[in-house]
Subunit: 378 residues, 2 copies
């Protein structure tokens, strides 16, 4: 069994589960650190282990361009290539190709695009992307999809969805005919699209269920819509998604976004925010959002970013020092605060799972959301 | 006793010694990782400990500008500020002020200069710099000197030397009248100048000996002169420097430079090269210089930078992966290769000390210099 549903809350749709892969187990709800180029920016695998990361996300588009997926296959798969011997997931590159500002042409066949690196021309088809994901060798591989922009009319979203469903069918067929090449199973996730149109989201799920992937992602969220709308779409989708399959919301979000989504039945999330905000001088803490670059923290020589945190950064460095590293643009500052932020997300997920197990997730989550979103002052 | 001379080789001027500080012992010959802004670029204190770093160098000019030396004093000194509870040395900022491309005016009083950050105007005098170094609180503090450019006429070098000697006298006087303020001793090093003129170097040493600092640095080296000339000047100086004091050559160099200087009686070195070359895609290895960014290493999935190295980078990551990180400009690549290069330097010093102890340094160093300077091919 790939996904094991352990428990569903009696007070919300929140679920406790476990994903079993050849590289280890992943306990859900889970947050996946983003390692686009087969590296979580500035973070060593030792640090990832220490913060109890269970699964890392990499990106097919980026790895296809550099170093090339054949190269990663030669290394024995992305886990061996990056020295991370735990579970991994690859996004298909659908979102990246969709986001390209340069040339990009979508047809039934797939997407013709130009590399953002050197302008070279490439074609992604569902089949070629599945081959790339086989070569990269992540434990979970995402379907090649067409992300629906926000806002979109019903017709636009429907056309976009047609591509995604057609491509997902072809991807599944190709995978069935072309088994894994690295000696261990790869689980295939379909991606629910349909924009903000409930009817299309439902249609998308019904069609995907027939294709029978191993898990389901909700795509096209966090693309500019209000948070409340995102929650509503996720909430709607989880009502229709099979209970015995993992549900993954892609590219979301803040700690309080995660708590909202989890209470709506979401099992997996990923986001670049912890690393990005670290670079911006912002730390998530148990007392709220701390803008450690601010003057008022310059003399906090004995206070870590979060006194209640036991990450490597908080155990060894002060706010005053972190602020100094930020001001002097020292690379260690980014690494340390990214370690803290990622640890914060992963620790939050540990708490979520403990609260689910003891059946008091909802009340706790309600309070926690308020605290976490507040601005932490001096 | 601050500096303990343990042994001098019978076959060269190489020495084995130990520097005793309130923050621990430093075994010489020693290489000091550079931590200009109170951080060794991209490297955590855990990594510094793991690579057996014994002493870190920071810079008064940089810390005076950011975060300010009063701020570091409030933190309890630079060791507490940066979370490194080992020995430290601060350079005086003389070299940095001398290197400023913007406004800078030297007089008997000191140096008026403009900050490279915001153009603000400042005055460094020997007294103000000693106060700054008292506030920063390193275990070893350098005199404020005037670096002599290369090439310089005898007259130019003599004028420059006059500033340095005058300032060193005033610095020593100020220190004698103003004891340490952080509760532990700080040892004062004078800096030998005189350009490439042997007579002036001798005069510099004779004058410094009268001032009686705790140790001696050789400044104004590695400023564009040929390596052979640098070796000759250092060789000349160590003939005249007191045997019972530590000798430090500032800002040098490659691994083979270090072996040359050590055989000429030098005890301490520092250099930015290991970090800088890491950023340039170049690793020092036991088999020579490895340009790991080169295509020929792209498929070295099972080979670390140096198969004989036991640093964190070599124990966990391959050349192929390091090359990928370099090509994708990922910050982890710089950190990992800097860890390797620094570890390489520190490990080389460990070997030097072991060879000195067993009385076979010279033959080993002769062979090693050849190997290390070679280009490591596929």
């Amino acid at each position: 069994m790939f996904f094991e549903l352990i428990q569903t809350s009696e007070r919300s749709k929140a679920r406790l589960g476990c994903i079993h892969t050849a590289h280890g187990d992943v306990h859900t709800p889970v947050f996946m650190p983003v390692g686009t180029n087969a590296t979580v920016k500035g973070i060593s695998v030792r640090d990832l282990r220490e913060m109890s990361a269970e699964i890392i996300l990499a990106n097919t588009y980026h790895l296809y361009l550099r170093p090339g997926t054949k190269q990663i296959f030669s290394a024995g798969g992305v886990q061996k290539f990056m020295g991370w011997n735990g579970p991994m997931l690859t996004d298909s590159g659908g979102f990246q190709v969709w986001s390209l500002k340069q040339f990009r042409k979508i047809s039934d066949e797939g997407v013709h695009f130009q590399s953002h690196l050197d302008g070279s021309r490439h074609l992604f088809t569902p089949e070629s992307v599945m081959l790339a994901e086989r070569e990269i060798g992540a434990d979970i591989i995402m379907a090649f999809d067409e992300c629906t922009p926000y806002p979109s009319t019903f017709e636009e979203a429907e056309t976009s969805l047609r591509y995604t469903l057609n491509w997902t069918r072809r991807a599944k067929k190709w995978l069935d005919e072309n088994p894994p090449i690295l000696g261990y199973p790869q689980y295939f996730f379909g991606i629910v699209q349909g924009g903000m149109h409930l009817e299309l989201r439902k249609k998308s799920i019904e069609a995907l269920i027939k294709i029978a992937p191993d898990g389901y992602a909700m795509g096209g969220l966090s693309v500019g819509e209000p948070a409340e709308l995102m929650y509503r779409i996720a909430d709607f989708c989880t009502d229709y998604l099979p209970k015995n399959r993992a549900r993954y919301v892609m590219g979301v979000g803040t700690p309080w976004n995660l708590l909202e989504l989890i209470s709506r039945g979401v099992d997996m999330c990923d986001c670049i925010l912890p690393a990005k905000h670290a670079q911006d001088g912002l730390a998530y803490t148990s007392r709220g959002v701390l803008r450690y670059k601010n003057e008022c923290f310059a003399s906090d020589f004995d206070l870590p970013l979060d006194p209640d945190c036991d990450c490597y950064c908080c155990k060894n460095y002060s706010r005053a020092y972190l602020r100094h590293l930020f001001k002097t643009k020292e690379p260690l500052g980014w690494t340390l605060s990214a370690i803290h932020n990622l640890h914060f997300y992963l620790h939050l997920m540990q708490e979520v799972r403990a609260k689910l197990l003891s059946n008091d997730f909802e009340k706790w989550a309600e309070e926690e959301k308020q605290i976490l979103a507040e601005s932490c002052k001096k």
